[in-house]
Amino acid sequence: MRYLASALSVICGVTFAFVSMGTAQVKLDYSIVESFESKCNDISESIKKAATVQECGAVSADIDRLEKDFAPDTVLLNDALYPDKYDKWISELRFELHLSQDKMGIIETQGSHIGDLAEQVRILSGRVDSIAIDDKRLMSSINVMSAALAKVTSTLDSLTNTVGRLQPKGSTRQSRKPK
């Protein structure tokens, strides 16, 4: 019974394979070329949009896949693509990616510099804030001390006046001396 079932499944499989082969759609050369062009354009767009080194790496893998997928059609593509040939299309994509990666490297280096500078600015800003607080405190102290000084000066003046008033004049004292 088990053998019968497996034999039946094999027969069904073979029949299905034959039917599939019979109805398999023959590819149009035109559609292969069109598909290649379309994928190249997509990859070119991805290169333009790539913003990180990781994204560039993904695009590089896409180019490898494209090359692998269309390897059986290189003769057709070389004949059909105009004015540039298949190899030129692929090398153009790699060149675009290379340029993009170079730009990305520069941007990332500059980004790192910008990060360092931002950190320095943050530290200096903290110091400026701290200095501003100290300055405020000092100003406040100066104000207090100025007020105290003014008070002391006023008191001193007042005392000087009082002392001046209380001090007997020279002539008056002499006349009071007993003879």
Binding site: T23, Q25, V26, K27, L28, D29, Y30, S31, V33, L76, D79, A80, Y82
Partner: protein
């Protein structure tokens, strides 16, 4: 006097006949450049404009397809936007068809025009979305899931079982 004139005339006739023979000989000598390959690697699907013209950009060829559309559909008015599939074989013959066409038309190039060489019936109900593939000895007509048909300019038609 008459003798002199007669001799003079004969001399001119001889010169004229000699020149004419040389010219004819030059015209008849055939200079043939062989191993020519006119094939397009892939077909082109072209849209018919309001005037009935199609234009192929890569090979810079353009012509009016109104008579063709009239032949196929009996309508040469509503032609704008219709699609025509075109390919050229190794020998330089043009194969034309399109969606809803029942035939493939083979044309040869002549002075300022294309002349019908053959009309090959390929579908009783009309093609759905046809396309041509360039093959070494024939042109392959593909239409969806139907088996491809091998075509030659003489009208040879055979299902490609490969």
């Amino acid at each position: 006097m008459i003798q002199i004139w007669d001799n003079y005339l004969k001399g001119h006739v001889v010169v004229f006949v000699t020149s004419l023979s040389s010219l004819l000989a030059a015209g008849c000598s055939s200079l043939t450049l062989e191993s020519a390959n006119f094939s397009w690697p892939i077909e082109n699907e072209l849209k018919v404009d309001a005037g009935g013209m199609i234009q192929e950009d890569r090979y810079r060829i353009s012509f009016n397809v109104k008579p063709l559309l009239y032949e196929e559909t009996n309508d040469s008015v509503n032609v704008s936007g219709r699609l025509i599939d075109i390919i050229r074989d190794v020998q330089g013959y043009y194969y034309l068809t399109g969606p809803q066409f029942k035939n493939v038309y083979v044309f040869r190039q002549a002075e300022g025009c294309l002349v019908l060489e053959n009309k090959i019936a390929v579908s009783e109900d009309g093609l759905l979305s046809p396309g041509f593939n360039q093959r070494t000895l024939f042109i392959e007509l593909v239409d969806g899931r139907d088996k491809p048909i091998m075509l030659t300019k003489d009208g040879g038609k055979k299902e490609n079982t490969k």
